[in-house]
Amino acid sequence: MRKKAVAYFGMFLALALILSYVESLVPISLGIPGVKLGLANLITVIVLYRIGAREAFLLSLLRVTIAGFLFGNLFAILYSMAGACASLAVMVLLKRIGTFSIIGVSIAGGVFHNIGQLVVAMLVLQSVSLVYYFAVLMIAGLVTGFLIGVLSLETMKRLRFQF
């Protein structure tokens, strides 16, 4: 990474951690675990579009690990990591395909974040009946992905830097 990007990267990581914390203060009760606002994904998307895929991946890895130690527990890191990896992999793919806007990419990111978490939960608990949570989590991921996408778009319009 170029020196300028390294400095900004540290700042982005700090922001992502703060957003993770803020998100943990807002309880969302659907009776189903795993529904989150995904605020920290805002930073992931911005880094993906303004710096690069590799940096976005590194950011996600660091963010999930550190946030897990700060605000969560060891198991939470496992689920978050699975969700973040699935989410980022799909986002990088869709961004490369090129026919999707930031909002579409973010929607897919949100949906696959939840799918990733649910698949890992099903593996750990060895329960196939969790598959019934898929529908709600996919729709929740769609909504949060859309909101983060809009937020990303508006934020990037106002950020004037390029690497």
Binding site: G31, I32, A121, Q126
Partner: protein
């Protein structure tokens, strides 16, 4: 939003609706008992027809009353399981992720035991 975005949304919604539909179909069958698993291992099977209170190790505790199952105690930090809606229909679940506990309703046809008490 571009056209591809809308197509993506359409696919997601369609898959979700199909899954919901399948869920309703499965739930239509009779609910007979609740199966308790911890980390994938079956810990016990209890008939919904008899009111009872069951403790799972030291970490969770749930109640069966009037054919409805509700988790009323758990040692997990997030307490999602305790706040979950009570379950009574086939395939419904209450899960405590940190303690790896799953309470799942099974239909009478699938129940292998009449009652198994730990």
């Amino acid at each position: 939003m571009k056209k591809s975005d809308w197509m993506l949304v359409a696919v997601i919604l369609t898959v979700s609706l199909l899954l919901i539909g399948y869920g309703f179909f499965a739930a239509g069958q009779d609910a007979g008992s609740v199966v308790v698993t911890m980390g994938g291992e079956v810990k016990g099977t209890y008939l919904l027809s008899s009111d009872q209170e069951i403790a799972i190790d030291d970490t969770n505790h749930f109640v069966i009353r009037d054919g409805v199952v509700k988790m009323d105690f758990a040692t997990c930090p997030d307490q999602y399981c305790v706040h979950s809606k009570a379950i009574s229909k086939n395939k419904e679940t209450i899960i405590c992720l940190p303690n790896q506990v799953v309470l799942e309703i099974r239909s009478e046809k699938e129940s292998a035991y009449d009652a198994v008490v730990d």
